[in-house]
């Protein structure tokens, strides 16, 4: 009796297995449709009850693969991603990733900057201390709306928030330079330098401050060349409030020289560039060491780190015991 029952059980499993291929194919057809339903945020809030965070996570996990999946109906995909991100951020207003990724997708894939702006504006309203959301919104205005004033306004707001990255600050400074707001452009980095909490951050801030000076000087140099039909011979040629804001004149001209090709040059900037490179080398060596399980050899280091700049007169680059040094 027992063996018969076992036989029936095995036959059942074998039958189901035989059918699975065909049924599975049918399933795939049925599941490939583009149907997605996102209820009203208010309805979702009622449905989720006390588990809003978990519901927001589930919705996000279901929306994520759809971002990269092609839909037959592209308009539906646009609506679904926009609605899903809206509902998720309604359920959990502090879900930072959804704002960031959702806006990036709406922008870059869906080419839907208005929805991206709406999502990021909602994100900033709910998370006013998030530097990342301010920067993301600034990028949308810069890239897709060509609104420099709004970009500067948002980056300015982000620059006062914790967690602002140096790349965004550099962009703010560059935009200020472009809009001839030289003193404020320098002030962006001067403030960061003032608040720098360790030697590494200080080096980066000082480097960026001098790089901003170089940007201003390069702009002034180009304008001088256009006006006079020749490049400036020395820094004093640029002492003109029409070329550089009067409040920033002395700051920019101090230490400025030009190389044989007429390019702007600051000795301090070159020095800081080398210091920054040493810092980068430290990170590179640490990453490589964790991968190799030992410190990289000189060949491994120089083979992978890339070309090193001019070490300056009478000096040379040396790599020893995992450290890049100037000797």
């Amino acid at each position: 009796m027992a063996s018969r029952i076992l036989l029936v059980a095995l036959a059942g499993i074998a039958g189901a297995a035989a059918l699975q291929g065909r049924v599975g194919a049918e399933n795939a057809v049925r599941r490939a449709n583009d149907f997605r339903y996102t209820p009203e945020p208010s309805v979702m809030r009622v449905l989720c009850g006390g588990d809003r965070s978990a519901c927001a996570d589930v919705l996000w996990l279901s929306a994520l693969p759809d971002m990269s999946r092609p839909f037959e109906d592209r308009a539906l995909k646009k609506r679904w991603i926009a609605a899903a991100t809206d509902v998720i951020t309604d359920l959990e207003p502090t879900f930072g990733t959804v704002y960031g990724y959702g806006a990036a997708h709406l922008n870059l894939v869906d080419r839907n900057p208005d929805e991206a702006i709406a999502l990021l504006t909602k994100g900033i309203a709910n998370n006013p201390d998030s530097a990342g959301l301010h920067v993301a919104l600034a990028m949308v205005y810069y890239e897709f709306k060509k609104d420099r004033a709004k970009t500067i306004e948002l980056l300015e707001a982000a620059s006062t928030l914790p967690g602002i990255d140096s790349l965004s600050l550099a962009m703010l400074a560059s935009l200020r330079v472009d809009s001839r707001d030289d003193f404020t452009a320098l002030a962006v980095w001067a403030k960061q330098l003032d608040e720098a909490h360790n030697a590494k951050v200080r080096t980066i801030c000082e480097y960026e401050l001098w790089r901003t000076k170089a940007q201003i000087a390069a702009r002034a140099s180009r304008e001088f060349a256009a006006q006079h039909g020749r490049p400036p011979r020395d820094a004093e040629d640029l002492r003109d409030p029409k070329l550089i804001s009067s409040t920033a004149l002395d700051l920019v001209l101090q230490g400025l020289s030009f190389d044989e090709n007429g390019r702007v040059r600051y000795e301090r900037l070159a020095e800081l560039d080398r210091e920054k490179l040493i810092l980068n080398a430290e990170s590179y060596v640490a990453g490589l060491a964790s991968h190799l399980g030992r410190l990289p050899t000189s060949e491994e280091f120089f083979g992978g780190f890339g070309q090193l700049p001019d070490p300056g007169p009478g000096r040379r680059w040396a790599y020893e015991d995992g450290k890049l040094e100037l000797r």
Partner: protein, 257 residues
């Protein structure tokens, strides 16, 4: 009186911890906490957020399941096994019996919540280090412990009123509804649904609201914990617990065996 309540409570505690249902529910919650990591893997980032959200929701469901499966049938089991006659014939009032039941069940539920919270904290520490365990998580677990109080009282109230299956269903319904009381406010905010607004004004203050002690949402918000709000919420749900407990005592006193 305190001794008699204590004796009933300790007997209830011992009986509940021997219940296999408790082990099954605990295994479910532990699986939910440990399994939440899988969701973290399939997300872009926010791995720890997923672990925390699902684990805390799992502990919330644990509380509801415990109240449904253990609390709701607690008194009926005593009647069925006729142990209630022995207890009540020995100078123990019916009110004291219900109070003892509540105390015993709460001790069991709080022990389970504490155990699950330790599993969660350990799991979060494994993936995110000790720095990932913060006061917001403690507040969320404390809120869940507070939530257990009215749920246990409701399960006892319904357990004295009807069969265990109905009491369990009623407890589940209470849990679902009481977590959705906030919807009354949210659906009518900013002048929306004016027809609901009148209902909201009348119903909102007199509806039990378990969202008063739900701090799961604030775990990943990065904002500081509003401990005073949690305290007020705890008082509010305790008031509801007292009301249901009083109802359970009244019903149990009138009950004919």
């Amino acid at each position: 009186m305190r001794d008699r309540v204590g004796v009933v409570a300790s007997a209830t505690y011992r009986e509940a911890v021997r219940d296999r249902v408790l082990l099954i529910v605990l295994a479910f919650a532990a699986a939910m906490i440990l399994g939440s990591r899988v969701l973290g893997w399939i997300s872009v980032e926010d791995e720890l957020k997923m672990v925390k959200d699902f684990s805390l929701s799992g502990i919330g469901w644990l509380v509801a399941l415990l109240a449904m499966l253990i609390g709701a049938g607690s008194i009926a089991r005593e009647v069925e096994r006729r142990t209630v006659y022995t207890v009540l014939s020995r100078d123990c009032g019916r009110g004291e019996f219900v109070l003892g039941k509540l105390a015993g069940l709460l001790c069991v539920f709080w022990t389970c919540i504490a155990g699950m919270a330790l599993v969660l904290f350990a799991w979060v520490a494994v993936w995110g280090g000790f720095a990932a365990i913060d006061s917001r998580m403690v507040a969320a677990v404390t809120g869940l412990a507070c939530e257990a109080v009215p749920l246990t009282a409701v399960s006892l109230f319904l357990g004295t009123l009807c069969s265990p299956a109905l009491a369990a269903s009623g407890t589940l319904a209470f849990w679902l509804v009481a977590h959705r009381t906030e919807a009354l406010r949210e659906l009518t905010v900013d002048g929306r649904s004016p027809e609901f607004a009148a209902m909201y004004r009348v119903l909102y203050p007199v509806m039990p609201n378990l969202e008063n002690v739900n701090f799961i949402n604030s775990v990943t918000s990065g904002k500081p914990v509003a401990w005073s709000a949690l305290g007020l919420g705890a008082v509010s749900v305790s008031c509801w617990a007292a009301a249901f407990l009083a109802g359970a005592i009244v019903l149990f006193r009138r009950r004919q065996f």
